[in-house]
Symmetry: D2
Subunit: 332 residues, 4 copies
């Protein structure tokens, strides 16, 4: 069975998913919707999808599932609408920046029995998923301490910062999901500290650009997260997991791996400078997982509940910053 | 202008090129020909190409260029035929195993003024081409000594060995081309030694599985090549270039780059185990270069003359083995 | 001028310093004192030092300086006594486990105008000191975030744990000093969390074996510390410093650096398994720095105040653990 | 039993051995001889050895063994003399530059039943010896192909070149010994090519600065050697051994192993820039092996016959260069 897809939102990340769909033998991009006619037309031209309106896609019997890449503030509404319409749903993170809204949305999704997958692409990166596989195979024994480093090449524009929900809900949220993916136990306490070291403009918007987080679990496992909105040497994305028998870590990735040696020393080129080239394989594998879930009518992972759990960690982290102490994560 | 292509041969490497063409915005795979109907049908289905006979493609006015992936013993004939028909030609290496036949073929190509590119894919690998770029930018000064390591994960089947022309014409030929690509001066003397260490069956067919070569140039530059038909740890493909100011090297590639540390030490996974996954980016860049050459009606590189030069080095290497001495390369 | 030294304590670390002194062209080990006659005799035999009592060394006019390697609970008394006697003093960390006692001791040292250096050997490791040099040269711009990893190969015996002052005063204290060495600004807030993951026996003694710490400075710099009493793969000692222009990190060290590649992947041997082999160069450089300070009558670094500052961080960390919040460091 | 040693020659390498002896608990440097009084006095002062003449050392009943670090052209005479005097002998390579002289000398040594060890220090480097241990443990199966890289930071002065015997007898000879150490089978054919790429002055003295060698064994194993008198990035010393089950390689060594990452990429410092710092551990282990051999009255390795065999390879390599072909190694 070929999974027939509708793409809602034809911007930057929409294109990434359109390409992933076109390279997936089990999926077909049937339709695309976007308020910007040019963006929709580009997807239509490059991938052969029809341009339809959102209402039309909702009513289309030739569409099994939608991929939501529209602005964040439309996510929850769209999820609810397409869940009720009986479509499977892939939604870019976050479902919403407000956790109460997320909970309400998930209630409707679950009532409708809809398949919902949230776009935490890093779980599908071959290197990070190999780390998880090594843990699952028992290669490092019981997980004890996790170290996550995530540094962007440079800060996003002010316009992006303004609607991002803050660095913890925008950037660290990927690391919260990664922590849950690797810790093997739900973190229940969060300590966070954040400052403005990179760009005073970010501080002027009430946001931070440098973050350190410590998560702990009931049994005493730790996870440290280190974030910055700047890394001159490229997109720094590492995890390191320590267990009772050893350690497993994912290395950074560079587009060109040569080494030069001169009187100044040994030099290798910078890392990837953009998340789309760094995670190109992850996006393909993520879409493949969604298509497989839809095709087999099985639960999709990471689920809406995974999206909720990561957001709960971000919210707790903001409370920790405000109160200067470790706070308990609020679960529902 | 979109370059319209016909694919001659729908086997393993034919599929690689069909995929590369489909991912190239400036090219379109119009037709495919193969004596095996199933193979042609698979390409037709996956990439939307029409199935045509070779005669038909030769006569097709909607085809600008052909990609020859048919058996080696048909290459020279096909090149001549399509050169005369006014098509641009990409041909998998080698043009022919017999150097006289190659010379004759190139005479006809040049008479016809046809564009001919030979498939030395490694020149287009991003890591090897970055090594060349570093040399061209003068980062290591004058090139002095080149070290090329090329080890296959395992030996090919006997049927392949029989029609391969011997390891020097089949496997080392890529390294001969790489040597020419990196040395910056044409090698004029060749010493080679070869033995059977991996598989006595290969020796039984009169071939070798382990090769060491030293090339030298008129000004005294050296290139060492080390080949084996076996590398338990994956597809070992390295170059290292020493110059008056320093060294530049391309590192090996692995599909998953994690590191595990236990009481036994630090372990990283094996390398790629197949040339198609190792060189997937190289094949795409190679086809892009061919398409660009056809589109701009400029000379394609590596050319037929490059194919001839590599074969001349292989022939000289066989004479060196037979005579136990360094021999001069025969140029035309 | 040759600096004439007396060694107080001929145990494990005493031997390390005796060897460092014997390899130092500007120093001479004149005398050794130890309650265990055999231990003193071994040092005497191997390095030609006379065996003297502590009183005798205090009164010796042929001794310029002492190296205190006696049990921790004697450190402060010995420092005060030899400071008053006009000797320069090198003392293994800590001065005392009780910060009030340390303050009182430093008062006497300062009153006496004595040279006092505290044994934070890691500052003298060539790799860590090169990290600091890179920072001082402005190679990474302004320091922003520091990451310190320190994992022991295995937990010490219960007897050691009992008198250690707890992991934060025994093990993390080195990392607190390293944080101060690298941050370029005094940390003023500390968050710490600790658990027992490695050995329940350690928990039974009221101590921890796994620690995560976050330090922050007034301007918003962060330092994360990750500690464990177990690392199956050897003595894991890393620092990573992020600044406005880039990053500098010290790599782990292994006694043998070969690489093996087989069908299972690429393997390198474990790290050093003992702090004495890992830091052998650091101990030599540390003693050289002390000898140079004594010889030139200049201040020794790290000073008694550095010892105090690290202990203040450890004390703050214990308060943080008790209170579950970030606490201010108490300075004098 | 403490082995009592006399040092013949107090120059640069003599000092290295004096230090190694002083750090060896089982050995004592009793006497030193050198025509230059200052050099002998320095050793005497630093290591407590008496200054004696060569005749005196020969007659000394308190000396068990000598370490010959005198000029090359005195080696064979000194070996013969001290062999007849019943002393064990450690001699820096080479025994002599003339192979007939070496053979004669070894005849006398063997007649006298003297212990003779030749200074191929690299066998004792912990990394290279770990490579050999991995082979001996069967970790890579049967050895098939060996790759040896040896590049000096810069060319020696003309005065050194003149009396060196040529690069193959001076520099490559270490690699010939390493090849024998690792191949597990005696090479019987040699091909070599050499040129002047680094320094025309070296060519003016009739020597070369860039060498490529291929050795083969009767069963078809290969060893490639690549040498240069210049490596801007430091002292480049690598071996790589391929076997039927895998590969083992020794990595290069640097005095400081930090990594810096900036917009220009990732940089590590250059390698050691001097053979004495690079091989400091090797010299200590070499002396320990000699002392152990003398102490236990067992055969020392590498022996005089190992010195002869390496020289025979160098001689064959020169014939290969002269004749442009692979030549057979002349054994006695």
């Amino acid at each position: 069975m070929t999974v027939r897809l509708g793409l809602l939102g034809a911007g930057r990340i929409g294109k990434v998913h359109a390409r992933a769909i076109s390279g997936n033998g089990g999926a077909k991009l049937v339709a695309v919707a976007d308020a910007f006619a040019d963006a929709a037309a580009a997807i239509s031209r490059d991938y052969g999808a029809e341009i339809r309106g959102i209402d039309e896609i909702e009513a289309s019997s030739d569409i099994d599932a939608v991929v939501i890449c529209a602005p964040t503030d439309t996510h929850a509404d769209l999820i609810e609408r397409f869940a009720k319409a009986g479509k499977a749903i892939f939604c870019e993170k976050p479902i919403d920046l407000d956790i109460a809204r997320v909970r309400a949305c998930l209630g409707i999704v679950e009532e409708a029995g809809a398949v919902l997958m949230v776009g935490f692409n890093r779980r599908f990166d071959p290197h990070f998923s190999a780390v998880r596989a090594a843990i699952d195979e028992g290669r490092i024994g019981n997980v004890e301490m996790v170290q996550i480093t995530s540094r962007d090449p440079g800060p996003p524009p002010a316009s992006y910062i303004k609607s991002s929900g803050g660095i913890l809900r925008d950037m660290t949220i990927h690391d919260f999901d990664m922590a849950r993916f690797l810790l093997g136990e739900e973190p229940n306490m969060v300590f966070a500290t954040a400052s403005v070291l990179v760009d005073p403009g970010i501080g002027g918007l009430g946001d931070h650009d440098s973050v350190s987080v410590v998560l702990t679990t009931p049994s005493g496992r730790h996870c440290s997260i280190s974030n910055s909105r700047r890394a001159t040497y490229g997109y720094d994305q590492r995890v390191e997991v320590h267990g009772s028998k050893g350690m497993v870590a994912a290395e950074n990735q560079r587009p060109v791996s040569i080494e030069m040696a001169t009187a100044e020393g040994y030099t290798r080129p910078p890392l990837h400078d953009f998340f789309m080239t760094r995670y190109i394989e992850a996006y393909a594998a993520e879409m493949a997982a969604f298509v497989a879930a839809v095709s087999s009518r099985s639960a999709a992972m990471p689920s809406g509940r995974d999206g909720l759990a990561a957001l709960a960690l971000a919210d707790a982290a903001y409370r920790s910053i405000a109160e200067g102490r470790a706070v308990a994560v609020e679960r529902d």
